[in-house]
């Protein structure tokens, strides 16, 4: 094999964005080693610059003519580009939040950023991975970094407990996932590349055998853990409460987006033959997530716990797009995840700001906040209302598109359930707004009475402010000016080969089912 052929098979240019992240990561580590803690003033900005450069590199890869690289190990198609962008962007905003938070907790910033960038790297590779080993390695890179981040404030017993819980559940669910993946390897006659597995299974004529179904269920257990879908969600509330808040911000957006990217790629490429089955399983997960997430969130008193259940519920909404399994369905998922990034990061920025100033994150302690900190009140109100789907904010358009795509695909009951649970969700989101805005000055909580004067020029507050304002503006207008985002989401689906191919396959499969009703 000559060199030119090898280079074209590797096609290493596809992972240039990840390459930039790796360089940044190494840069952060080395600079920290050489300069020590003095570097922490600007090391965060270095990492953000690296992530933004990586997003720019992603932009130039849009519509690449030859997205397959590393002999089929990595697929840099437009779908992966969007998800890699979401992961990188969420990491960038997370760093803006964490500069002050980590400093205040008395731990080293550079180490934190290095682990966060590793998690980002794992998430980005996971979005494009199209080979079993590659999927597993990037999944583990993401997970292991997440365990470390969760337990990063190691003097806090709650953080330790959260890390342990997350590690135990995460490791076992990865093991289950690995078992499903190894079954796939066996069933397909020794293939590891996703499309080759699909072909292998198709040519082996095992059809909808038990083996396929078992591997499907095992794989879904791993995916469900990452996107915190309802029966696999138990880690979410405890980890969200215990882990450092910026980490939660990343887990709720970046890690979840990577999980959805994996779900789309794996399910549509490998399991077209059992499309009805995985849709059924995901319908059950979506119903459970929407009901449980929204109903249990009603009873929470801690802000972070409430957002944990809210993120379970939001995952349920996003799954409607996955179950629809149409171009509009996938596009609506992508659009929702994009706006979810803005809303959730805006909300978490406000929570971090509040807990930095007061040291608590109980919902009751927010009462009367509008008088002391109007910008924080505005930001948190807008982001929560947008999560609840109130027009004309970004979340409203996201939900409308999800419901619209679901309705087009004939998922009437799921959409109706989504509408009903959205009404429930408005109640607990507005409870926080009520605490902040409606309460009279004399009903102010003690914490708010002693609220320190708002100063943005303290070290590390400026990036928080920038992050807050950028995400706030994006949350407010990303709905009204949603056309570019819609075009982005639609194009990324339309230009992605795997989604086109599988649509054909799955329609053929369903046509086959119609022809042979006795098989059902």
């Amino acid at each position: 094999m000559d060199f030119a052929n090898l280079a074209s098979q590797l096609n290493a240019g596809t992972i240039l964005p990840e390459g930039i992240v790796i360089l940044t990561l190494l840069g952060v580590l080395i600079v920290d080693l050489i300069l020590g803690r003095t570097s922490s003033r600007w090391i965060g900005y270095l990492a953000i610059a690296g992530l933004l450069a990586s997003i720019v590199a992603l932009y130039f890869q849009w519509d690449a003519t030859n997205p397959i690289s590393f002999s089929g190990g990595f697929n840099g198609d437009d779908l992966s580009i969007v998800f890699r962008g979401i992961v990188a962007l969420s990491a960038a905003v997370t760093i803006l939040m964490s500069i002050r938070y980590v400093e205040q907790s008395g731990t080293a910033l550079a180490e934190f950023i290095a682990i966060l960038l590793t998690a980002t790297l794992g998430g980005m590779f996971l979005s494009g991975a199209s080979e079993l080993v590659m999927i597993f390695i990037s999944l583990e890179t993401l997970s292991i970094s997440s365990y470390l981040l969760t337990g990063y404030t190691k003097r806090d017993p709650r953080s330790n407990e959260a890390a342990l819980k997350y590690l135990l559940i995460g490791a076992s669910s990865t093991a289950v996932f690995l078992y499903g993946v190894s079954l796939l390897y066996g069933l397909s006659g020794g293939q590891t590349e996703l499309s080759a597995i699909a072909n292998g299974i198709a040519t082996a004529h095992i059809g909808q055998s038990l083996g396929i179904v078992i591997s499907l269920v095992f794989v879904i257990a791993g995916i469900g853990f990452k996107i915190s879908a309802a029966p696999f969600h138990q880690w979410t509330p405890d980890v969200y409460e215990g882990a450092p808040t910026p980490v939660i911000a990343f887990l709720s957006v970046g890690s979840k987006a990577a999980g959805f990217a994996l779900a789309i790629r794996l399910l549509t490429t490998v399991f077209p033959l059992v499309a009805e089955e995985w849709k059924f399983v995901f319908t059950a997960l979506a119903v459970l997530s929407m009901v449980l997430g929204n109903v249990v969130a009603l009873a929470q008193t801690s802000m972070k716990r409430m957002l944990a259940y809210s993120s379970i519920a939001q995952a349920g909404f996003v799954m409607i797009g996955l179950i629809a399994d149409t171009e509009a369905g996938y596009a609506s998922m992508i659009f929702y995840l994009l706006v979810y990034l803005f809303m959730n990061l805006c909300g978490f920025t406000c929570i971090i700001l509040f807990s930095l100033r007061t040291g608590t994150d109980q919902i009751a302690e927010y009462s009367g906040l509008y008088q002391k900190d109007p910008l924080l009140t505005l930001g948190l109100s807008i982001s929560l209302l947008s999560l609840g789907g109130i027009p004309p904010l970004a979340g409203f358009f996201g939900k409308i598109y999800l419901f619209w795509a679901g309705w087009q695909a004939g998922l009437y009951w799921l959409v109706l359930l989504g509408l009903v649970t959205s009404v429930v969700s408005i109640y607990y989101y507005i409870r926080v707004v009520k605490m902040m805005v409606v309460k009279e000055p004399q009903e102010m909580s003690d914490v708010v009475k002693n609220y320190p004067p708002v100063r943005w020029n303290l070290p590390g507050f400026r990036p928080l402010q920038v992050g807050l304002i950028v995400t706030l503006i994006a949350t407010s207008i990303a709905g009204i000016l949603s056309n570019p985002l819609f075009t982005l989401a639609n194009n990324s689906v339309a230009n992605t080969a795997i989604l086109q191919a599988t649509n054909v396959v799955s329609t053929q499969a369903s046509a086959a089912n119609v022809e042979h009703p006795e098989r059902l």
Binding site: P391, F396, I400, W404, K434
Partner: protein, 499 residues
């Protein structure tokens, strides 16, 4: 041209939200009043430019917005909506005018009112289902805040109740809209792109039920009305004016526009039920109002009763009844506004709303004679006394509906009589009788009387010159009715053919 009605109030809301904090509340109020006046004048200008002979949409505006969702920024006004727009900007102005000069947190208060006003105008103007829904849901949070920040004792409870009911109503409406558009195979939510005629009658009935339930909560119709007494009573006077005067009209407007306008066939099947429902609402509202001990609650229940007439007229759906429905919507807006305003004045001056404690307000020197006189006038208008706008509207409704549904119409006439009963009780207990010797009420300032005087003048003028009430909506309603009978006949012939 029409966009001004939406965006000027919203722009004004934004400006008021950021003006300096240290300005006195009254300055904020005056600037809000100024903006509302400009909007009102612009609205009156549009009213006079409105071509009465044209039954279709006028002053249309179109901007593509979101192709993927089928959402476009498409506005237009016709005979059904023009009066509602005027009512909206008039009552916004009056609500701001009648608000207290020392309102707490004035910047938030006035910007929310203006935001609501722009949103309501948008909902009346929208020619796209999704755009309508967007503006409809836009009222949710501002009204929730307006009730639960500046309300009475139980404002938190009333606010949440209002929020949940309205959110459920929104969910129902959205589900129906999605169903209407997707089941007909349309790709756009524009009004004229949606034609439900191709649907099977079962689907039409299901979708129409969604519309009726969704808007029935907002109107409100009888089993879904329980948010109304709480919200109206706990809201402060200006907010009650907006809630009852404008927001309830959004419900009836939605019912006529989407229920009758888009499902003529299923609507004619539902019509008898709706007529009885309307009559039951009217009787229920009146009977429950008789039992109330609180004047604001009485007025709130009177609103339920008066909304029943509109449902009856909508069910009858002939040209006369529909003109009556629009007239009743407008005149109910005026009458409810003046009643809530006067009740608000009585409450601030006397300090109570209890029927058992109020007495002798008619007394010329120590009482509130002018306010009492206006209260008598507006009570009469509400009860349907000739010479006032309430009578004109109700009479057209009854005359139009009688041919179609005689029994429900008679029930509504009875309800109208009961309305007179509880207003007489109200007036008797508040205005007449003797004042306590200890009663020293603050003087009513001129600016407090002005809104009531304007509204009273309008009520009398439209009562003696009703052409100005009905001329706007005649061609549109005639055209709407013209769409129905043809269908009705086919339904009848289908039914006739079946056995």
């Amino acid at each position: 041209m029409l966009s001004v009605l939406i965006w000027l109030p919203i722009l004004a809301a934004a400006i008021i939200a950021v003006i300096p904090k240290n300005l006195p509340a009254n300055t904020v109020r005056l600037s809000a009043l100024y903006f509302a006046a400009v909007v009102l004048l612009w609205n009156i200008f549009i009213l006079f430019k409105f071509d009465i002979s044209n039954p279709g949409m006028q002053f249309q505006e179109y901007l593509p917005w979101n192709e993927t969702l089928g959402l476009s920024y498409q506005l237009g006004v016709d005979g059904l909506s023009i009066l509602m727009l005027v009512l909206n900007s008039l009552l916004t102005w009056i609500a701001i005018y009648s608000s207290s000069k020392e309102t707490q947190r004035p910047r938030l208060f006035y910007s929310l009112i203006l935001l609501v006003s722009g949103g309501v105008a948008g909902a009346f103007l929208a020619e796209n289902l999704l755009l309508f829904f967007l503006f409809y849901e836009l009222e949710l949070i501002p009204f929730y805040l307006l009730i639960s920040i500046w309300g009475g004792e139980k404002r938190a409870y009333a606010g949440i109740k209002f929020l949940i009911y309205t959110a459920v109503s929104g969910a129902l409406i959205l589900a129906t809209f999605l169903g209407m558009v997707w089941l007909t195979g349309s790709t756009s939510f524009a009004f004229d792109a949606v034609s439900t005629q191709t649907l099977s009658s079962v689907l039409q009935i299901v979708l129409l039920s969604g519309i009726i339930l969704g808007f029935g909560i907002k109107i409100p119709l009888v089993p879904f009305h329980t948010w109304l007494p709480d919200a109206y009573v706990e809201a402060s006077a200006p907010i009650a004016i907006l809630l009852g005067g404008v927001l309830a009209k959004l419900g009836t407007y939605g019912l006529l526009r989407f229920g009758m306008g888009m499902f003529p066939q299923a609507w004619s099947m539902f019509a008898p039920t709706l007529a009885i429902w309307g009559a039951v609402s009217a009787i229920y509202g009146a009977v429950v109002a008789i039992a109330q001990k609180d004047i604001k609650r009485m007025v709130a229940y009177s609103s339920i009763g008066h909304m029943g007439y509109i449902l009856l007229a909508g069910a009858a759906s002939n040209a006369l009844a529909l003109v009556g429905a629009v007239a009743q919507m407008f005149s109910h807006g005026l009458i409810l506004a003046i009643l809530f305003h006067l009740v608000g004045v009585v409450e601030t001056k006397v300090g109570t709303r209890e029927l058992d404690k109020l007495n002798g307000l008619m007394s010329p020197i120590r009482g509130l004679p002018l306010i009492s006189a206006l209260l008598v006038l507006s009570g009469m208008a509400s009860a349907g006394i000739p010479g006032l706008t309430g009578f004109v509207a109700e009479f057209i409704v009854f005359q139009g509906s009688f041919t179609a549904f005689p029994l429900p119409t008679i029930l509504c006439v009875v309800a109208s009589g009961l309305t007179a009963v509880y207003f007489v009780i109200l007036l008797n207990r508040t205005c007449f009788g003797r004042l306590d010797n200890l009663a020293y009420y603050p003087k009513v300032q001129w600016f407090e009387k002005t809104p009531a005087l304007i509204l009273a003048a309008l009520i009398i003028f439209l009562g003696v010159q009703p052409t100005w009430l009905v001329r706007w909506s005649e061609p549109t309603t005639t055209a709407m009715v013209a769409a129905i009978p043809a269908v009705e006949k086919t339904v009848n012939s289908e039914i006739a053919l079946k056995p």
